[in-house]
Symmetry: C2
Subunit: 299 residues, 2 copies
Amino acid sequence: MFKAPEHQVAGHQARDGKLGPLIDGSGRFYKPLQNDERGSKEVAFYTSFSSNTRIPDHIRRFFPVFHGTQLLEGADGCLHPHMVLEDLVSNRLHPSIIDIKIGSRTWYPQASEDYFQKCIKKDRETTSLSLGFRISGLQVYESEKSGFWKPDKKCTQSFTLKDVRSVLRKFVSSNPSSDAIPDCSFASVVYGGSTGILAQLLELKAWFEDQTIFHFYSCSVLMVYEKEEAMKGKPGAEVKLVDFAHVLEGKGIIDHNFLGGLCSLIKLVSEILTCPDEQTSNGCLHELEKSRFCLENGV
Amino acid sequence: MFKAPEHQVAGHQARDGKLGPLIDGSGRFYKPLQNDERGSKEVAFYTSFSSNTRIPDHIRRFFPVFHGTQLLEGADGCLHPHMVLEDLVSNRLHPSIIDIKIGSRTWYPQASEDYFQKCIKKDRETTSLSLGFRISGLQVYESEKSGFWKPDKKCTQSFTLKDVRSVLRKFVSSNPSSDAIPDCSFASVVYGGSTGILAQLLELKAWFEDQTIFHFYSCSVLMVYEKEEAMKGKPGAEVKLVDFAHVLEGKGIIDHNFLGGLCSLIKLVSEILTCPDEQTSNGCLHELEKSRFCLENGV
């Protein structure tokens, strides 16, 4: 009945005797609680979020539905606690998915010295610091024959600014695995439109400008669409938030770290809609060049 | 002809033989170039900004006018280079001023290890990290008899989150130096209205959501108003940006660090307009309490 999810692009997976997430094929995703406090923190978040009457419905839909916790038997024969969540891709055949960890900073003020050092190193090595987010994983469906384009972890971890720009184009292209210029065939139907990804990101942004309940560290925006639908010009792309093991109380302050990164992502997605035919996969280069100034020159 | 500016609330001042800024009484502010690269970096910024045709006029007015550089004789008898800038308060009699350094991070990706360590320490010790900005200095005019309420540097450096909320209320109150609850008498005329400070901050925000030309590290938002005008219900409060010794090229990425902090400031200023009669000087406490959840509880 339970099996490993087919379409996971980032996060923990079962291997080396470690528990991984499971799906039951009928719409539920079982995420094992991590042993340290992260597992209980994430359950605490889902519990408080689910019962919070101040989250508007149009925001709630960005979060996986939470069905409580459940003990499941692991390969070791022992019972392990799992969070029972909505399986976000159970209704998809060949979902193209990108997992984007938001925030230029993945550590929080009260973090231990060890955790701070570990996070800030990774934030500096990846695009988090410069761009306000980093790509944690992705798969883009190409065809029945060639399947998914799915760069491995080592590859996504070494993405540069230029790679990220390019990958956001490839994500909505029919030729993602090719070395050719991404054709951005599906940009307008996936990113654009009144219910497309950009519109959804802007809804989230408006909430983040105001909400002071939660601060989301190391949380990801997931963008999902189905190539078959996109080819028919059908909307249906979805934005979801996942990974809440490092959510803190907002204490009356907005989550400026998440908001800043989200705005940076919004800007790059907007540019793809404005210049889908860009030759360089490096943004609107002409505009960029015009706007650059040599600040190295002194008096 | 030259004298030290009366109304400086933060930044370098002449003392211990060091050069300080000067004003000429006819609208110009002379800022000595710092010896290290900061001076030349700031000149480079003003030079490129002044000649940049892509800065809209409604944004340009937030920046001091730049009149080039000039050599002035110091107390040591030597000639020293100065930036010649607009004196932002030359037309004010008793300006109330607050200097707010924007950004949860005052260091930038390419910073040296020393500079990084120095900045991150201060960001963590102050409200920069948690709030996305910190107050660098302020003066609030009270009356001819008692003059200005002007907390000293040591005091502003130790401001907590709660202090910052309170100070943003005191800034628009007729009783800033008192221990009584700030009366927020001038909140609606200074912060509110179609040309008030909130409206100006929102204009800046819209620009920062889009502009990818500059990244402003350690840059301050200055808010200025005149009590005499506010008492008559006259608008006239101004927002200005100052301190550009750490401006970097944006290279096609928005300044998510500045934008996040700016949004956090906007949220706090909005709350003062929504709840000017708050008894606690701690935001809308009832709303806050309602929105808090104990995330410490596990499974």
